[in-house]
């Protein structure tokens, strides 16, 4: 293998890694936003709000992500809705992961001490204000670690976008391995690449959120 071919292989790999990181970040945004919205609807006292959230969660959590991507990409055009591969990648993965996220939101809201709800009622908060100012801020802190894990799962799920024509990191590693025959080396790089994105991107982001949101929960040590 000549040097030119090798550099092509590496630039394809680098591009694949960038694609994976970009899809991960964009889909994470969708997952977090939709997860919060659907999770809040899920705990609404109103049936008309709660039920659509239950259906959403059951559907997207209960069916395969790959099949969902196929639906967005191959089936929706039959009904006249054509979405670009990137749109499907970002929203398809984001929506699917948000259904797990919504359950995290629900569990964290349920876990907020009953005394917090009672104090809010005693102070005459409306339900909306109570959720916004008292309950959700506490729930968010409590659910951050679980979101960290979920977003790492999301990262791993992004390899499926290969099946809707996007060459991301896994597929570029596979092509490189096929082209060179050096499976050991390139799949080792693939493992390392995912690890680096998870540990270098997602974990610090969640840590950062935690440290910025944890005031009042961690005893601030005297200087």
């Amino acid at each position: 293998m000549n040097e030119f071919a090798l550099s092509l292989t590496f630039s394809a790999l680098a591009r694949g890694l960038l694609v994976t990181a970009a899809v991960t970040m964009a889909a994470s945004l969708v997952a977090v936003t939709m997860g919060l919205v659907v999770g809040l609807c899920r705990v609404s006292p109103r049936r008309s709000v709660r039920w659509p959230a239950i259906v959403y969660i059951e559907f997207f959590r209960g069916t395969s992500l790959l099949v969902q991507l196929y639906w967005w990409f191959f089936v929706l055009p039959i009904f006249g809705v054509a979405l670009s591969p990137w749109t499907v990648a970002i929203f398809g993965i984001g929506v699917c992961v948000s259904s797990y996220g919504a359950e995290l939101v629900r569990a964290a809201i349920r876990a907020v001490d009953r005394g917090q709800y009672e104090a809010s009622i005693a102070l005459n908060f409306s339900r909306a204000t109570m959720m916004r100012r008292i309950i959700v801020p506490q729930a968010i802190r409590a659910m951050l670690p679980a979101w960290g894990t979920l977003l790492i799962e999301l990262l791993k799920g992004t390899s499926l976008v290969f099946f809707i024509t996007i060459s991301e990191f896994t597929s570029s590693a596979k092509s490189a391995a096929d082209a060179t025959g050096n499976y050991l080396f390139f799949f080792a790089i693939a493992l390392l690449g995912y690890y680096i994105v998870a540990r270098g991107l997602i974990t610090p982001f969640v840590r950062w959120l935690e440290s910025h949101l944890s005031r009042g929960f961690v005893r601030i040590t005297a200087p």
């Binding site: 005394g115 009672e118 104090a119 204000t129 100012r133 009042g216 005893r219």
Partner: protein
Amino acid sequence: MIEHNVRLGKMMTRSKVLDHLIRDKDNVSIAMTQPMVRFENVTKRYGALTVLDGLNLDIARNEKVSIIGPSGSGKTTVLRMLMTLEQINGGVIWVDGEPLTHMNKHGQLVPASERHLRRVRAKIGMVFQHFNLFPHLTALQNCIEAPVSVLGLSRQEAEARGAELLDMVGLGDKKNHYPIQLSGGQKQRVAIARALAMRPKVMLFDEVTSALDPELVGEVLNVIRTLGTEHDLTMLMVTHQMAFAKEFSDRVCFFHGGKIAEQGTPDQLFGDPQNERTKQFLSAVLEAR
């Protein structure tokens, strides 16, 4: 001694007020003399368990009433119903002449809507055994959150009022501390300031010193004592601090099995209890000390 006489004097006019009310039970427009809080034949059940059975209790404006009684007798439930944390299964609770649990519709009392509850509930504040401070907010923020978002006060106004109240409970220098940085006694005093920031007419205290180390009880009781003497507040407290109940209250109610077994002035109830249950309870409590 003089103080006691004054108290007894107050008590006598009050019980006349109550007599008058009992006679005029159906006339709810007795503006001046109506009780601040009235439990009218209130029943509370949890499943098959009847916790309160046809409770009747009137509390006059500015009256300080202590509730004592054995565990499980329904003391907490009384306060929680009045704070609308529990729904009642029968009867009506009145606050300041208005039905709390119900509202008037075409001359009939129907269960209250959320809106009605929020309007009448604004007159009541509560302090809890386990403080229930908001952990993500500082002491001052705990005191201004509701005045700003519920009463619509400006931030400056709310902060001024909050700071004043924290000063009053002796925590002027802890404004910017988070609850986790405060002792139990300090937390409870913040909780009192937070409740007062909403300008309630009735304050409810449910065993507010039970979760505190013994040496911290005094500072909280002192705050309550000051509140009682310097402010126009109707106070209803569940307590195991018999000495404080005796010194502070205008009236003590002894609960047993979901009913008021006996009530009277502290001197009557502690000095000369009539009911067998009261005697047993008091001697058990005193022995335990």
